[in-house]
Amino acid sequence: MSVEGKIFLDIVTPEKSVIKEEVSEITAPGEEGEFGVLPGHTPFITTLKIGEIKYRKNGSPSYLAVNWGFAEVTGNRVYILVETAEKAEQIDLKRAEAARARAEERIKKAGKEEIDYARAQAALSRALVRLQVASRAR
């Protein structure tokens, strides 16, 4: 299979279409671990967890922080449908940092209440991913 091929990547959120580009390689955070897609991948569908999507176009990598969603891979087309997707350069570091601090605070307090704990945990991992992705833009 030719590695020269292109993959048509489409990332959409309920609010807008984030990315619509031809890329050469994609890495995404699948529910069961990170996976990579190269041209000619077998049809594949997976849910995604909070994490980082990386794609390469003309050799240079770009990063996005994504929330819950799912991805469908068919031939040379990849659809990624997620709740939110933020490009690395769009992330507000200060806000992400503040969100992390808040989440950590909540985790400390929550302790007993399981629902609150799970929620705070999710908020924390979202904040961490955003920080990590944002740091890539530098």
Binding site: T42, P43, F44, T47, F70, L81
Partner: protein, 278 residues
Amino acid sequence: MATLRDIRRRIGSVKNTQTITRAMQMVAAAKLRRAQENALKARPYAEKMGEVLSSLALRTQGDAHPLLERREAKRARIIVISAERGLSKAEGIVKENKKRSIETSLVAVGIKGRDYFKRRKYDRYKEYIDVLGDLKYSLASDIGRDMVESYGDKAVDEIGLVYTKFRSTMRQEVVAETLLPIKPMETEPGESVIDYIYEPDEERILKEILPRYVEVQIFKALLESVASEYAARMMAMEAATKNAGELIESLTLSYNKARQATITKEMLDIVGGSEALK
């Protein structure tokens, strides 16, 4: 014949009306802009989701998930997001279903639909009133969850969605779509269907995605309907403002004519008077 004062009064009142319709037009235009933006931005997600789901439906067996199961339609349900024109379309479907002896229950979103179907004594399953002004995703998930449950429990065998699709400010179109069961994608003859690899597994994927799909489609329909509603309202108010303008023009014309007539009459009186004195 109307006196000068009558005409002046009418002009004043029409002008007042025009001020109001113009203000309403402005409000609708501002709201439309936001609603249109929301509707357009939500489209790609809903459409992609529909594509993924129909290709998923093609590749899985009907028994993989309750929402993919196709049953002979005996009981149908239609979600009607009301704008006046949508109502008659929904009514048409209900009547059509009746001929094929399919029981149909309705979910009315918006006050117009509720009143309309109440008056006609249709079977209303649920009503959502006062929700379109300040539209929230939670409304779509409420309706969605309810529908998924009904379908899963086999309370209904088919769920339709009637809403107004926003094409442009000038054009809105009533559409009826089938929400459930999900239609498998149509394939070209001879095209082979390759099965997916599922991660984590088929059952869990379907369980996560399908209910979400229903919500997203409902939400899209809600957004489209709201945008259409504002567009229609704006057009109506624009027409009203224009009509008022025309009315003012013709009233002003007759006002001037009447005024001139009085002046002429007065002059004739004066001339007649002075002639008589000679």
